[in-house]
């Protein structure tokens, strides 16, 4: 257990130090969402209608931003070899790296979402619910992304391959995330079935992501 905690602490330290990727995601999110009204025009009704979609797309792209380096850096400096030689199953180590990545990249993004929602004319009463859908859905994005990050190490291709592999898999998350957010804004009752499915997607990828990523990493060692 202490091995996993020390891995979590190390990855979070690396993310917040010089050259780390923490807050870059949140910054990118901020820029994308800020640019959107300039592209769409100052139509408040339209902005309010597409607001949740913009926030979810921004969150999706931002959470992929730092992901391709997640295992690549450990692979390049030999850390990955030693991570496999610890007493912990690789699946758990991979899951912990995913959690550290979510805490440093996706959580800041969730925290600034209410502010950006206001910029997109999302009604005040719905801001909290909208943020909740992001908090519930971003773990799915991170842990599906883990698989892509591990594959890009195994296949020795970085960057774009990750986006091509991962983005199609995130379509369900996007659909139910935006549906849950829209339900919160317009629907009779906040959240509802879409939110439940969103939570299910997150929980499922939390379990399946690390297993698949660890398998990809092991295979890449040949």
């Amino acid at each position: 257990m202490s091995a996993l905690i020390s891995l979590l602490v190390r990855d979070m330290r690396l993310a917040v130090r010089v050259g780390g990727g923490a807050f870059m995601g949140a910054l990118f999110f901020l820029i994308v969402v800020t640019m959107m009204p300039f592209a769409v025009g100052p139509d408040l009704v339209l902005l309010a209608r597409i607001g949740p979609a913009i926030l979810w797309l921004g969150a999706l792209l931002a959470s992929l931003l730092a992901l391709d380096r997640l295992f690549a850096t450990d692979h390049e400096d030999g850390s990955l070899d030693l991570l496999m030689m610890g007493g912990m199953p690789l699946e758990l180590a991979v899951a912990v790296k995913g959690i550290a990545h979510w805490l440093t990249t996706a959580l800041p993004l969730v925290l600034i979402a209410p502010l950006l929602g206001m910029m997109l004319n999302v009604e005040l009463h719905a801001l909290g619910w909208l943020t909740l859908t992001l908090a519930a859905g971003t773990p799915a994005l991170t842990f599906i992304g883990l698989i892509g990050a591990a594959l890009s190490v195994a296949l020795r291709r970085g960057g774009l391959l990750l986006a091509v592999l991962v983005l199609p898999l995130t379509v369900p998350v996007l659909i139910f995330g935006v549906a849950a957010a829209n339900a919160a804004i317009t629907g009779p009752a906040p959240l509802g079935p879409a939110f439940t499915i969103l939570c299910a997607l997150s929980l499922a990828s939390l379990v399946l992501g690390p297993v698949a990523a660890a398998a990809a990493l092991r295979h890449g060692l040949e």
Binding site: S2, A3, S6, L7, V9, R10, R13, L14, R17, V18, G19, G20, E76, D77, G78, S79, D81, L82, L83, M84, M85, G86, G87, M88, L221, E222
Partner: protein, 199 residues
Amino acid sequence: MELRAEELTCSRGGREVFRGLSFNLAAGQALLVSGRNGAGKSSLLRVIAGLIRFVSGRLTLEGGAAEATIAEQAHYLGHLDALKPALTVAENLEFWAEFLGTRSAIKPALETVDLVRLANLPAAYLSSGQRRRLSIARLIAVPRPIWLLDEPTSALDAPSQKRLAGLMHDHLAGGGIIVAAAHGPIGLERARELKMDSE
């Protein structure tokens, strides 16, 4: 304790690296693997470390911890240092000590490799010899019976090479096993030799 390899065959990327390799090492014995570039020295170490699967043969450790794999009882010192430039010397060692073993004091290990003065310096500022010494400190901080050393003396100056020879000597005297790949003498006088020069 005895590390035994029987008829090991390893292939990487469809090319056979070595075939029919056998040796056995009892506690306190060292094996010095030599051979030309590309003969498979590093591959052999990575096979023992569980980082490459072998195609056929058997690799067993008798008398080790029953529920642990060979990889979990071995230290692998490869060409890469596994150090993070953004973390300090102490943080790097602390992490590996905690991840690979149990929470232990790292100061004695840093003293052994003479890096105590640099403990709070980010690893980015270390020279390659100092990085090597910090990797070696990992072997001291976490006790594991098998040491797999891939050209351990590279980048080390003469005093550090001597210190490493002393550490290896102590490890063998304590009942450890060393498998080292090297092109020249690394200070293991009584090591058995394995020449890998199959075409």
